[in-house]
């Protein structure tokens, strides 16, 4: 049966941090290679889908990498402000992953 699943239901870890002063970087990590490969093969998790979750244009996402050795998707986005600048809300970037939890992708239970 074709249904959908949220990333928070299938990923083991979803995290965000700074990667240098100018970027947030997001790791969507799996422990089960089958789940990881299924998400990768499904092709629904894309740069555009991530951009949509954050309400930004896809060119704001500098990297979208399926990192097989780590069973992980690695996404990097330009920060709204350089770390520590006026307007900073999260100096470590550690609470910026939240919209990823609810990203829904098609999921075939069979």
């Amino acid at each position: 049966m074709q249904t959908t699943v949220k990333l928070s239901q299938i990923a083991h870890t979803i995290r965000s941090k700074n990667a240098g002063a100018h970027f947030y970087t997001f790791d969507i990590m799996f422990t089960d290679p089958v789940l990881y490969q299924k998400v990768k093969a499904g092709g629904a998790l894309t740069r555009e889908r991530i951009a949509q979750a954050y309400g930004v244009s896809p060119d704001r996402i500098s990297h979208f990498i399926a990192y097989d050795p780590g069973l992980a998707f690695k996404i990097t986005m330009r920060r709204p402000v350089t770390s520590g600048d006026v307007g900073e809300t999260d100096v470590y970037g550690s609470q910026q992953y939240i919209p990823l939890l609810d990203v829904e992708i098609p999921w075939d239970e069979a």
Binding site: G20, Y54, Y67, P69, T82, T89, V91, P99
Partner: protein, 460 residues
């Protein structure tokens, strides 16, 4: 014949940040490590500590970790290598660690040993001179070259050293090395590279060990990891009995806080891990093979600089009235307008700003917050003010607070104050407000050129 190998302990990803867990470190010592490495720094803490050149950790916490590492490595007569001393790796941080080590050595009556300090501060006038001579230093973020204006806006600049200054200190007979700002991977890789091990393996070991137990699962901090380096492979093993280093956890750590999981630029070249293989050799030890080092034709180090933008003050108010929450944007506009009337510089002048952080709406994610409609029954508003003097920032924060008390909005029932204050004072952080000003690549003719090394005899 047993293959030649070097064993290293990584007991912490951030010396002094919170104490090293002693049990797994002691367990690691029973494995007869050849040396111990501790990274003490990160740029993640934001620009203030570098800009103001102040300590990030309480001195007692630095002392606690240094005491454990120094006494145990001296007892076994094995090298101890510390990078990015004091959190930011400035000369002040290096000197602080040197003084703490002298005190600890005296207290424990340690036998005499040779200690090297390696400075990483960059002299601003010397940097200006390089720009005037036409040296091009591109920004890592934008590619734009470093300008005199970037330097004028900076209070403090450090350079991130590679393995070469640390190798030089080892050649000079140092048994303890306190390095200023240094690449995490390099402080682990220097000793084995000096001993003739391949650069790629040594650096990949450093990359895996730099955050200590974060490379293992389940997640724990400040627990010790043992790295074993052979000619053709690296073994990564946790010293805490409940942790495991799996191919997945070790490979996944390669991408932690990085933009690209496959390449890692360091002074002198790039560690390339696209072909690396991560394999389980037991249920808790992972082996890595097949990474490559691609040398750069030029030797480049990263500069980090920060400069003051002004002084910060905060006011915190709580809003509970449903009509106030309903009319929040109107209230914020009123507060801003009334305060700007008294302090017009807030509107346009450099060095002034007023930012509202609305906890309960989008205080954490700001413009990236996807939730647009809120149901909060109360909101916390933190107003952040930056101004050219501390007094001015505090005065503006106080006025902001009063406007929240006496702002007016439709449907208002109360009189006598529309906001709840924990205290009728404005608040100030410990340090002035800084921003990152320099993130540029400097080309060096000699990797030691800007990293002065001093040898000290301690103890006895």
């Amino acid at each position: 014949m047993t293959p030649r190998e070097m064993r290293v302990l990584s007991p912490t990803g951030n010396l002094g940040h919170s104490p090293i867990q002693e049990d797994s470190y002691r367990e690691g010592l029973t494995r007869n490590p050849h040396y111990v490495v501790a990274d003490a720094g990160s740029a993640d803490i934001g620009p203030s500590f570098l800009g103001a050149d102040v300590a990030h950790n309480p001195i007692e916490w630095d002392r606690m970790d240094l005491e454990l590492l120094l006494t145990t490595t001296r007892e076994r007569n094995i090298p101890l290598i510390i990078g990015s001393a004091g959190g930011t790796g400035t000369d002040r941080g290096v000197d602080l660690f040197l003084e703490l080590i002298k005190e600890i050595a005296a207290e424990h009556r340690l036998a005499p040993f040779r200690l090297a300090t390696i400075y990483a501060d960059v002299d601003l006038d010397a940097l200006r001179e390089r720009v005037r001579r036409g040296e091009v230093m591109p920004s890592l973020a934008t590619g734009e070259p470093l300008t005199l204006e970037n330097i004028d806006r900076s209070d403090h600049v450090v350079a991130m050293m590679g393995v070469e200054p640390i190798i030089r200190a080892l050649e000079l007979g140092a048994e303890v090395i306190v390095a200023g700002r240094a690449c995490d991977d390099a402080i682990f890789a220097a000793l084995p590279i000096w001993q003739g091990y391949p650069r790629a393996q040594a650096l990949h070991m450093g990359k895996s060990l730099e955050c200590a137990s974060l490379v293992a699962e389940p997640e724990m901090v400040k627990e010790t990891i043992l790295g074993t380096l052979r000619e053709d492979r690296i073994l990564i093993e946790p010293m805490h009995p409940e942790q495991r280093c799996t191919p997945r956890s070790v490979a996944a750590h390669s991408m932690y806080e990085r933009v690209d999981p496959y390449t890692q630029a360091i002074p002198g070249g790039v560690l390339e891990t696209r072909e690396a293989r991560y394999e389980a050799v037991s249920d808790r030890t992972c082996q890595i093979m097949g990474s490559r080092f691609i040398p750069d034709p030029v030797y480049r180090v990263k500069l980090e600089g920060a400069g003051k933008v002004g002084y910060r003050a905060f006011s915190i108010v709580g809003l509970r009235d449903p009509n106030a929450i309903q009319n929040l944007d109107r209230i914020l506009a009123d507060v801003r307008e009334r305060v700007e009337r008294v302090y017009p510089a807030l509107r346009t002048d450099e060095g002034y700003s007023l930012v509202f952080h609305i906890y309960g709406r989008n205080g954490v994610m700001g413009a990236l917050e996807p939730v647009r409609e809120i149901r909060s029954h109360e909101l916390g508003v933190v107003s952040e003010i930056i101004a050219p003097s501390q007094k001015l920032a505090l005065d503006i924060a106080k006025l902001v607070q009063y406007r929240f008390l006496f702002g007016r909005y439709p449907g208002q029932k109360h009189s006598g104050g529309g906001a709840a204050l924990i205290i009728d004072e404005s608040l100030r952080p410990e340090h002035a407000a800084y921003r990152w000003t320099v993130d540029h690549l400097l080309t060096l003719k000699d990797p030691l050129e800007i990293f002065p090394i001093h040898i000290h005899t301690i103890g006895g």
